[in-house]
Subunit: 277 residues, 2 copies
């Protein structure tokens, strides 16, 4: 059975990402307190893979996680995108009137601002993660205390969903990468994550993008990152999807881009996850 | 006297950004609990300007703050970049051996990981902001408790810097924008922040970048953002600096880009801040 390290505990969005990615396949899940420990679990072979959040449609990319991938030379071998839905979770006997406090991750508090403004008397407490709050409410039988979390957290820790979908913005997605120490060959991969530098001459990035267009590679993400130690040089994270052009064209494009960049790392070649709407 | 709203309280990095931007000019500073309230203070004319963090070299862009700028139709009229330096702050009588706990913002804990690992017995507590921790230690005379914060916070709240520069990575910069409800004309501006959409046809972004190169506009930032409500369309944040090309060229480039984009918003035209190294 494959083992996968996640950030946080069971019932977290990371856990949900693993369930969605592996579907009916049975896998073993290992809780890990931080993104860094998630990665070192994979590197030290404590687990086979790591599932790690990389970007959120509202908050943007988690750049330090890109740094972990490059620093530890990990390979992206898959991706999955989760819609983030927040629910108000409480002990089974609670009602909206018995709640006095909400504890959850600061991002969840922020994303449910409109709902929470309706209850100005509630004390709002920022905590490290939502699943741990859910577990504590269940295990310590915390009366009057709600958390904001996922359906999976409600199921895992036997909490009641007092109010569904309390998030302000419905278009909230988080992308996760499945990471491995070895570049497993993915059949029919159609997406690649590239990381490269250009010199800071005028139009050097435009040249790379022209090449991608010439080889009919569709770009689904681009982000400049200032290079550490060099304020005036930039590196870029670019995701490309090849539609019908096939592998030969992809490898030709890669060869041409190599001549236009300082360094070019292929962080992974994998199957694009299509968001169903 | 000009009034400026900041996120957090005096002694925060936002306060430091105001001091650095206005230098010897006397200004009034208004504390604001959240980024949203900082912005609404400006919109409601409670203050003249807002100073708001927009990106960090390690953590990346704060996309929700870009959303606040566009949602409330604010104009960027200046920028400033702060090197982020973390110090260990305590009451004057403390030594390294009397510390039992460190309370600060989770980002500060993360950025001082190597230093904190040397003291495994210290309890680490995540708090909302570093300057408030410093103020509490001073006002409540909290013995044995340290915070991680700036030199300004140490000065403001009469704390001792027990250990200087405890951050892991020295290349840590945060960029702040000065925001106004009106597009003040900045003399000799050389930088502009653009926000635009392209259609999702192959090479549409490459066309825009070719135009920028043609008019000798240097790009200092690019980031794609998935458009809310449309998973397959993207918008882009692009910062450009015109070197010697002058205003005419800039306006010509803008006109040409308008024909290549869905919508094009100029979020601000201002003077580039040059990082001194």
């Amino acid at each position: 059975m494959k083992s996968i390290s996640i950030q946080g505990i069971k019932g977290s969005f990371h856990h949900e990402a693993v369930v969605k990615f592996f579907q009916n396949e049975k896998v073993e899940i290992l809780d890990s307190p931080t993104f860094k420990s998630l990665v070192t679990d994979v590197v030290s072979k404590k687990t086979d893979y790591g599932m790690m959040a990389i970007e959120n449609s509202i908050a943007g990319a988690i750049l330090p996680n890109y740094s972990l991938i490059t620093k530890y030379k990990l390979h992206i071998i898959g991706e999955i995108v989760l819609p983030i839905k927040h629910h108000l979770l409480v002990l089974p006997e609670e009602t909206i009137d018995t709640i006095t406090e909400v504890r959850t991750h600061p991002m969840a508090l922020l994303q449910c601002e409109n709902f929470l403004e309706k209850y100005p008397d509630w004390k709002l407490l920022a905590k490290d993660d939502t699943a741990t709050c859910a577990r504590n409410i269940h295990e310590k039988k915390l009366k009057g205390i709600a958390t904001i979390g996922s359906k999976l957290a409600a199921e895992m820790y036997h909490l009641k969903i007092l109010q569904e979908n309390i998030h302000d913005i419905s278009d909230n997605y988080t992308r996760f990468y499945l990471l491995s120490t070895t570049p497993e060959k993915i059949n029919n991969f159609n997406k690649a994550s590239l990381y490269f530098t250009t010199d800071h001459t005028m139009g050097s990035l435009a040249k790379v993008l022209n090449t991608l267009a010439k080889y009919k590679m569709n770009m689904t993400k681009i982000q400049s990152v200032p290079l550490s130690g060099s304020v005036f040089q930039y590196s870029f994270h670019v995701d490309i999807v090849s539609k019908e052009s096939g592998y030969d064209t992809y490898y030709e494009a890669l060869e041409e881009i190599k001549t236009q960049t300082g360094f070019l790392h292929v962080l992974g070649e994998y199957k694009e996850y299509k968001i169903e709407k």
